[in-house]
Symmetry: C2
Subunit: 202 residues, 2 copies
Amino acid sequence: MAHDVPRDPVEELIEQLRKLPGVGPRSAQRIAFHLLHVPKEDAEALATAIIEMRRRVRLCSQCCHITEADPCRFCSDPRRDRSTICVVEQPLDVFALERAGYRGLYHVLHGVLNPLEGVGPEQLRLQELLRRVQGGEVREVIMATNPSLEGEATAMYVARLLEPYGVRVTRLARGIPAGADLDFLDDATLTRALEGRHALEG
Amino acid sequence: MAHDVPRDPVEELIEQLRKLPGVGPRSAQRIAFHLLHVPKEDAEALATAIIEMRRRVRLCSQCCHITEADPCRFCSDPRRDRSTICVVEQPLDVFALERAGYRGLYHVLHGVLNPLEGVGPEQLRLQELLRRVQGGEVREVIMATNPSLEGEATAMYVARLLEPYGVRVTRLARGIPAGADLDFLDDATLTRALEGRHALEG
């Protein structure tokens, strides 16, 4: 093959698709051939959506949530409780907490501490969080990282980091999820639910 | 929400990703946020690969395989056996047969007959195949559609279609795959292997 020949465009697309999370070699091939067979406009709509998202979406300079306007709609909403910040791993978690009825502010870390994968404190949006807490308006920081090893470690780390500032740092309650069947529940969850038991109001 | 506000670019991307085969709502979200976090050039490389593939790749006017040049490298290769055409469902099958050492010509149907999904003979590249067989150079057509219900039905249909032209129509052998463990083999495969048994050359 001559060196000035551009590489095969199907192979190039398959290679790009393989970089996506959860896309192995077989699904990359399937997606590439799908994009070859759909109407040209459909394939272009996907390409445009990628470009447009990167062009229009940025991170809020206050809470680091994804947004088109800065500050984002949560940080700029005067009706929200500005004394409470809920710290989450990913932008998706914000949507989940909104659905759950939370109406304070947020802070998105964009990851959790994970030394094995090379994610240290400097890779997370911690300086931005410290700056907000130093502002003095915040009274409570709710750590809503996932109940995983990394999520727990990150929650502990942030709690220690905020200790000097006298804010209350809390953690989401652990226990049995709504609609769960005790019989099918994993042991760790049931252990936590037992530890966290509380008096029934009669 | 005002009507002139463009829709959320992350939601738009998630919706486009969900149209891809094997991508459900959760993986569409994961991929979208992945594309938000990678360097901008990486996200753009994927978008460009999609556009470029659609711009540069076409179907060979003879065998309907994907190609940048027309006719494709198989149809234009004088060293290949032009008396044999191997009929496959998808371009990917061509790569598999190449790896298996086949050196005749190909014909890509771009699908199989599937009345339930609205795929009839007119959706497949059958007219192009008929034209090639009518050309007179072809002596054997190997039906290499998949051993599925639809693949078998398509093979039968093509065999009947080609009957008037006096070409030999063959089907890939069925039997136990290389390295298989008889114990774990499905019944249908073993039945076919028994039916197709042949004398051992001593």
